[in-house]
Subunit: 209 residues, 2 copies
DNA sequence: CGGAACTCGTGATCCGATTCACAAGCGGGG
DNA sequence: CCCCGCTTGTGAATCGGATCACGAGTTCCG
């Protein structure tokens, strides 16, 4: 479930706030979801809440962490070290959560061979070696849209089975590869869509009548 | 619908590729969705496809653009000009799509008053003025998590009704304000979750039996 | 010890989104 | 002029997630 990370964050906050036990109501409030949903989600992990009392925060953190595989670390390679790629490579939060950025890939000759924010930059030709050397599990695509499919193909060929794509393109990959797309322009367009819908008065064609 | 921007991109590609007409099948293929879904979505816009022929690409671009309100421009203010905020402010694609970044907000005294990538930086105290002066419609939160709720409150108080939040927090805002959250750590954790699930052999506790 | 108050687990229900399936409309060719 | 193949539009069926509702277990107090 996509909500587990949110629960984990809420639980961590509760733990540092000193709570040793909590209820599905509190957790739901903190996570911005329905209480029944929380209980159902947690029951999927073969949960161990106590009726009449609630959940043990520490134990629940352990369970959710295990389900998410937080104990594992999954090395990441960032492809395309432009505005966005640099921000990602420079972000310390990823390493803390088990996703160290171990290398970057770029076509820019001025970058290849350099180390940016502690991350070594390689040519796309060396992608397979980089993946093998560092046991890379996840590829991030932050290249221009035109280079995205080629980059995805190279990642797949190198054995990467998880891709996070920022490039605003529809990638085609084999079935066994999972792609998650994050498209910021689309997010803004959705917000704009609703803004427009809420102000139909002077913008709809009907206002001419 | 959240798919309209994807259709619009596919249609633009088809237009520049020289197609003057297209079918729901082609559009579905390009957009990575089901053909029936494409037809149903388009029928919501009071569509004008021709049976036996397909859709007129130019006309459909016009219809989808109108539905999305692409003609409008929605000025954006970026709050928190760190790694991520800078990448967003520097991105040219937003302005092209009608989302110009007209100002940035930061607490860092070294930034306030400066112009970064053509974007003037203001103190949080001046947020209300900035919103009023530039008719800001959308606020982007790229501050550290601890400052996110406060920033959201200021945005709402200034009259902003759409927020794009990168801060990995659950914001509480009035009902009439729309929040879209983009959490990159969560995206990575979801990928990690599936990676782990696909390799249960030597990681599950049961392998000890 | 009994009962009241609380909270979890979960079967049943609901609801919107997706998919299916096919009739209706269009164009082109004979 | 008619028929055949193609594609849309859309009611019907399906699916999956969200929500409801309630039985069951726990604590605590009198
Ligand atoms: N910056 C943002 O805020 C933002 C917002 C929304 C979407 N995006 C998308 O993210 C992607 C990257 O954005 P950006 O602003 O960082 O762009 P950018 O132009 O700043 O950086 C692109 C980088 O990719 C490198 N590159 C080009 N071809 C490559 C290849 N084949 N292999 C590896 N590297 C290659 C370039 O050398 C450059 O360093 C784009 O697709 C853009 O549409 C960015
Ligand atoms: N950089 C990434 O790739 C990345 C990835 C995932 C999540 N995030 C999240 O995005 C947010 C920003 O990340 P970042 O890497 O840009 O952080 P950053 O530390 O580089 O930048 C934060 C900026 O916000 C400013 N700021 C602090 N308090 C503020 C306030 N009250 N009002 C306005 N500005 C304020 C700081 O001066 C700084 O310039 C964080 O919440 C982070 O968790 C970032």
């Amino acid at each position: 479930m996509a909500r587990l990370p949110v629960y984990l964050r809420s639980l961590s906050e509760l733990a540092t706030a000193g709570s040793s036990t909590t209820s599905s109501d509190v957790l739901a409030e903190r996570s911005g979801v329905n209480a029944a949903k929380v209980r159902k989600d947690l029951s999927y992990l073969g949960t161990h809440g106590t009726r009449g009392v609630g959940y043990d925060v520490r134990h629940l953190i352990f369970e959710v962490s295990r389900a998410l595989g937080v104990a594992n670390t999954w090395p990441v390679v960032v492809c395309g070290l432009g505005n966005l790629g640099r921000a990602l490579a420079n972000h310390t939060g990823f390493t803390e959560r088990g996703f160290p950025v171990v290398a970057a890939i770029d076509v820019n000759p001025a970058l290849i061979g350099m180390t940016v924010d502690g991350v070594p930059v390689h040519s796309p030709d060396r992608l397979a070696d980089v993946v093998a050397d560092h046991d890379v599990a996840i590829g991030v695509i932050a290249t221009p849209p035109g280079a995205a499919q080629d980059t995805a193909d190279r990642l797949v060929a190198a054995g990467v089975r998880s891709i996070l794509d920022f490039s605003s393109t529809v990638l085609s990959v084999p079935d066994h590869v999972e792609v998650r797309a994050v498209d910021l322009s689309t997010e803004l367009q959705i917000l704009g869509f609703h803004l427009q819908r809420d102000l139909p008065a002077d913008r709809s064609p009907r206002s001419l009548a």
